[in-house]
Symmetry: C2
Subunit: 140 residues, 2 copies
Amino acid sequence: MSKDRFIFSLYIAQSAVKNHVIEELKRAGIKVTLAQSGVLFLLEEADGRKMKELSAGLRIDNSTITGLIDRLEKLKFVKRLPNPKDRRSIKIFLTPKGADESKKAKVVIKRINEAIRAEIPDQCGKSFIETLVRLTKKFS
Amino acid sequence: MSKDRFIFSLYIAQSAVKNHVIEELKRAGIKVTLAQSGVLFLLEEADGRKMKELSAGLRIDNSTITGLIDRLEKLKFVKRLPNPKDRRSIKIFLTPKGADESKKAKVVIKRINEAIRAEIPDQCGKSFIETLVRLTKKFS
DNA sequence: ACAATATTATTTGTATGCCAAATATTGATA
DNA sequence: TATCAATATTTGGCATACAAATAATATTGT
């Protein structure tokens, strides 16, 4: 049926997973969205990143990051601070509240990533991720 | 690095493929977008479908289809016609112009689907799609 | 030093996509 | 038949996402 419809199959699988994550985050009482949690995770790893570094890390457009940070700032999860070394750029910092939210979200995301791993046959488990990475490189 | 980050890997692979398709459609002078082409393909297969059938076929929300059809109708690629058998619903029909656009878009999409297939190792080619389908079922 | 160029973030406009609520119509049931 | 539940579509609100245009600042070439 969908034997050769890679584009569509990839779309609906990603869509199903994404909607499931959103639902589980909500169910856990988490205020940030999936995209916003991506920002928090990057900052947890290395705080004070520039907008540019965040958009590169998440593989999304600069202008999209602006909106994500706007909403995260309104929720008091991050703060924009000027970068004295380069006044074009801005550095983003986690607030304590944001760090807390990040940890909570990470629990949910991790659980779902493990549930996904469980769905992938062992022989081709590595191959699945490798294929995704190969597609990403090929079409970027 | 991204060994266990299935959600993220799936997202960026889908995103890369999607953006590549959009670019190629544009490059071929095609006016419809990827999502809109999905509607055209369904109608090419069976014209006069109801909104509900389209949203089910594309696995997207009802309200999203309304917008897609709005734009396709503005471009004169489809027409809304009343359904005498059930006046709650509406049937969507391809115009000749829409049928033409559909064929053009299909050439591009088919080419990219084949390029994707070429990126998947032979042993796990079937398994890749099967995994996507399994994930879709599990999380829907 | 200065002009041309590049980089960083934002703004605006358009397109998805979801959800919840509103509307219209149909079907079922008391 | 009157009412209530189910179904189909639309509307409005919000959150991504990209592209193009803009403003501010840095860098580079001469």
